[in-house]
């Protein structure tokens, strides 16, 4: 036992000294960036892919000569789907590894957990996933969709193209679906939809028995008005949900389902033949017909050495965030947080749908909204593409936030400016 512990101690010391040495060497000729995605636990299913994308982007950038003449080095940590651990790992990345910026998080809970750390230590986080809005931090860039870049255009499409009059808002019981559904309900009612024509339904995480809910949806849909389901069902619960829809014979022509959390990766675990015609709204689909996208898919398949790997929307958001950061660092000539925060606003980089995305003063970006129908091969057929939309951090449809705007340019530098009272401050941070 004593021998073992001595050995362990020696090993530990050896490991620590090598990392310390590496750190000392690295300081001069590399720039470190942090990758904060869960590689184990429940969220690993989604987040591991983003870690791989970041490694690919770093490798590509280094091939092009790095940034400011220095090589990039990705520091990967595993917060293990544990929200408090996200904050610890973020602190470790910023204080100990001295990273210039962090790319990471998936769930809103993990973002809320690290937000105070980034503000306290004044570092930068790029957050690549669609979220519920109602937040704007000086130190966070939201490259995923805000509700107005995903949910509202999707509902508009259904109302206009499919003539939907009756709505089921089904979601998993946590902050993103709750807030999105609140916004959607307010939006639909402002468009003249009666409250009795909206059914809101929440299920626990990982819900696997959908029989009752699917038959409730069927019942709600047999009121003589065209009905659609707006799904904010998260992650693993989707597969059993779609299987039950298929088995109970709900066809997309009768009751279409539009989902905000189902992309190519989620469909990879599913036989999509019974689901053809159900919809998803994103800012990117793998099936986008653009040269830059074809190039990206090729690189991704080569990098993962797997011809079957698919690309999805959060990957595009990571791509945009990374390139915007590189461009901002090169414009500022330094990786200093304050300088980059100033130079990044207004930066435009190509997105994967063939256009460009610009970082706005509210730390959100512009991007087009695509509506796609599920195909038998697990891909999406794009049926509508909008002009680029600016992410709206404070929803105009919620009474609490409709007067708030965010603008991080000087001299305003405020994440929650109240246009009614003319003061900075109000709900949220």
């Amino acid at each position: 036992m004593t021998f073992k512990s001595k050995l362990g101690g020696a090993l530990l010391a050896a490991v620590m000294s090598t990392t310390a040495l590496q750190g000392a060497f690295a300081a001069d000729d590399t720039i470190k960036i942090g990758v904060l995605h869960s590689l184990s636990g429940t969220m690993a299913i989604s987040e591991t892919t983003l870690k791989d994308v970041m490694l690919m982007l770093v490798a590509e950038q280094n091939k092009k000569g790095g940034v400011l003449g220095k090589k990039l080095e990705a520091v990967v940590v595993d917060p293990a789907s544990d929200w408090p651990l996200f904050a610890e790992k973020a602190r470790q990345l910023i204080s100990k590894d001295k990273v210039a910026a962090v790319f990471g998080c998936w769930t809103s809970s993990s973002r809320k957990s690290v937000l105070p750390v980034f503000e306290e230590l004044n570092s930068i986080l790029f957050y690549p996933v669609q979220y519920e809005g109602e937040e704007s931090s000086r130190n966070i860039f939201y490259t995923g969709a805000a509700p107005n870049q995903q949910a509202i255009p999707a509902v508009d499409y259904l109302a206009k193209e499919e003539g939907v009059k009756r709505w089921v808002l089904a979601g998993t019981d946590y902050v993103y679906p709750q807030t999105t559904n609140k916004i959607l309900k307010a939006y639909l009612m402002s468009k003249g939809v009666a409250e009795s024509d909206i059914m809101i339904n929440y299920t626990p995480f990982g819900h696997s028995d959908w029989q009752t809910i699917v038959s409730d949806i069927k019942k709600f849909g047999s009121a003589g008005k065209k009905t659609a389901v707006v799904s904010t069902i998260n992650g693993d619960a989707n597969v059993p949900f779609y299987k039950e829809l298929g088995n109970q014979g709900i066809k997309a022509e009768d009751i279409p389902v539009v989902a905000f959390s189902v992309g190519e990766e989620e469909l990879a675990g599913l036989d999509t033949k019974p689901l053809v015609g159900h919809l998803a709204a994103w800012n990117y689909f793998q099936s986008v017909d653009a040269d830059v996208n074809a190039e990206f898919i090729k690189e991704w398949k080569a990098f993962t050495k797997n011809d079957k790997r698919v690309t999805n929307d959060p990957m595009e958001a990571a791509y945009i965030g990374f390139n915007a950061w590189v461009k901002a660092v090169e414009a500022a000539g330094t990786t200093n947080t304050d300088a980059v925060l100033d130079s990044i606003i207004g930066v435009s980089v190509p997105n994967l749908s063939g256009g460009t995305s610009t970082v706005m003063p509210n730390h959100h970006i512009t991007k087009p909204v695509l509506i796609g129908e599920i195909q038998a091969d697990g891909q999406f057929d794009i049926v509508q593409e909008t002009a680029p939309v600016v992410g709206d951090e404070w929803s105009d449809y919620l009474p609490d936030s409709k007067n708030l705007i965010s603008d991080w340019r000087k001299p305003m530098s405020c994440g929650n400016f109240n246009v009614a009272s003319g003061k900075c401050g109000g709900k949220g941070s």
Partner: protein, 541 residues
């Protein structure tokens, strides 16, 4: 309009398919080929009009083209904007003429563009195809056509339906057509009396769909019919109420059977042996992954056997997870008998190791496990819908239960097992090799968890996290049913399932689950040993 319809019907019935082209050209005034070619430049709105015109030609030869369009198999050649049905053939498409069905050679995939389709177009096509195939000589096609017209009713199909009904000889098809006619009639300009009769017809068919149809039509109907519609809806709903209760019981039994499947392996390892086995969920997960691997092999080497894949996966999963269970017992658990806390921690560690191993081998994403054809879809029983996969899972979990009961009560291994768990020292004195009985009992429990995984792969995600979502439920069922009693596990699983499903519609899934947990806590306070407590000296040991 009327004349055109009668003409169309007349020709469809009397003139053979060969004579149709001449009619199509003279009658509708538009050449179907040029209509189809116009699809290459049409947006969704224009395409809808074109489909309407295609349907109006009454040309049954267009059915394959429309079908291909709704399946997304219609392409236009970029060089000349001509439209073809495309079938994938290697890196090329095999082009087929949409009207004549003749082959038109091959084209490279980038030389053609797919014609876009969306849900509203699919609906229009469904209705158009229904109209075109109502008089088909094939019974199955006619039934489908009647269904299609029923789901997308339009007044324009009315005359056609009436002709079809008068010609129809098959009872089931005719009944469907009569229903479709009644539904179509509601949106037509027929007399109030005819509509009243149609409402009665729809009422007699009943079901959820009938309510939807009546509610949808009520707004546009003559005010004098409102009372009839309301009465019909009320009558259908009162008939439906009983079926709804039946449906809830069915859902409950089905959820219960899933709980039973997940818990039955644990009923042995925890219930009989008393091991707090946190790695139980991972055994289920390994079973599901075995199914995945078996299906991959079948897909690659013998696709014809796919419908048998689950039957082949069962013994594979049982052996794989049984072996893993055996190794865990010999390698970890046997050193920890009598130390429940250490067992809990050690098996929890084992579960993390197994999860991460699977994640490293297969990746963190879901794997696709296909449903064999006999497990897809549903069938109606009165006012209920029963899905095949749930029905098979109920049958499957009950048969596993019976098989396990037989092994426990009738086999010599079962006798040894019970002897060891009831009085280890006495059993050992009688010459039973208790360590081996322990190892094989644990392997049996693990193997059964594995075959549960085969069944669960049909309704849930096959991902490394699969087991975690079942471990709590499994313990809940075993503790609630009474530790050490298989019958307790059965009754516990079924009653929890039914309770859950009766709470869910009224309080929602989230609160329903919480309420069930609260009820179990209260129940355990009252009866700490569960529903079926073991009695006698074995309990005290």
């Amino acid at each position: 309009m009327m004349i055109k319809f009668f003409l169309r019907v007349f020709f469809l019935c009397v003139v053979s398919a060969l004579a149709l082209p001449s009619y199509a050209q003279s009658g509708a005034g538009a050449d179907p080929r040029s209509l189809i070619d116009a699809l290459s430049k049409a947006d969704f709105g224009e395409a809808e009009k074109l489909i309407g015109q295609l349907a109006a030609t009454g040309d049954a030869r267009l059915v394959p083209a429309l079908n291909a369009f709704s399946e997304g198999d219609l392409y236009f050649r970029k060089s000349d904007n001509l439209v073809f049905i495309g079938k994938s053939a290697g890196s090329n498409y095999e082009l087929i003429d949409p009207v004549t069905g003749a082959s038109a050679g091959q084209a490279a995939k980038n030389a053609v563009t797919k014609i876009k389709i969306n849900n509203s177009l699919r609906r229009v096509i469904r209705s158009a195809m229904g109209g075109l195939t109502l008089l088909s000589p094939d019974r199955g096609v006619r039934l489908q056509a009647a269904d299609a017209v029923l789901r997308s009713p339009s007044a324009e199909n009315l005359e056609l339906l009436e002709t079809a009904i008068s010609k129809e000889t098959d009872g089931e098809v005719k009944a469907r057509m009569v229903e479709a006619r009644a539904v179509s009639l509601l949106s037509s300009d027929r007399s109030v009396d005819e509509k009243r009769a149609a409402i009665q017809t729809i009422k007699n068919y009943g079901g959820r769909n009938a309510i939807g149809i009546l509610m949808g039509a009520s707004a546009s109907l003559d005010p004098s019919l409102k009372a009839d519609v309301d009465a019909a809806i009320a009558s259908i709903e009162s008939g439906q109420r009983l079926w709804d209760i039946g449906q809830n019981v069915w859902y409950g039994v089905s959820l219960g059977s899933v709980l039973l499947l997940a818990a039955i392996g644990l009923a042995i390892t925890f219930g009989v042996m008393g091991i707090i086995n946190m790695a139980h969920g991972e055994m289920v997960m390994l079973g599901a992954y075995s199914t995945f691997v078996v299906q991959q092999v079948i897909r690659d080497s013998a696709p014809g056997l796919f419908d048998w894949s689950l039957a082949i996966a069962l013994p594979v999963a049982f052996l794989v997870t049984g072996a893993v269970g055996f190794v865990i017992e010999r390698g970890v658990i046997r050193f920890l008998y009598g130390r429940p806390l250490e067992t809990l921690l050690a098996t929890w560690g084992v579960s993390l190791i197994l999860q991460q191993t699977i994640r490293s081998i297969f990746g963190p994403t879901n794997q696709e496990v296909g449903n064999p054809s006999w497990m897809s879809g549903s069938f109606p029983v009165g006012g209920m819908t029963i899905t095949w996969n749930r029905m098979w899972i109920i049958a499957f979990s009950l048969s596993i239960f019976v098989a396990l009961l037989v092994v426990m009560k009738k086999s010599s291994f079962g006798l040894n097992m019970r002897a060891v768990t009831q009085n280890r020292r006495m059993a050992s004195s009688m010459g039973i090799k208790t360590p081996w009985v322990d190892a094989f009992t644990f392997a049996l429990g693990s193997g059964i968890a594995g075959i549960a995984g085969v069944a669960l792969s049909q309704i849930d995600n096959v991902s490394p996290n699969l087991g975690q979502s079942y471990i709590i439920d499994s313990f809940m069922v075993v503790v609630f049913g009474g530790v050490g009693n298989l019958w307790g596990t059965l009754v516990g699983a079924l009653s929890l399932g039914v309770l859950n499903k009766f709470l869910e519609p009224s309080v929602g899934a989230v609160l329903g689950k919480i309420l069930v947990l609260v009820l179990i806590i209260l129940f355990i306070q009252k009866r700490p040993r569960g529903l079926f407590a073991l009695k006698g000296r074995a309990v005290e040991a």
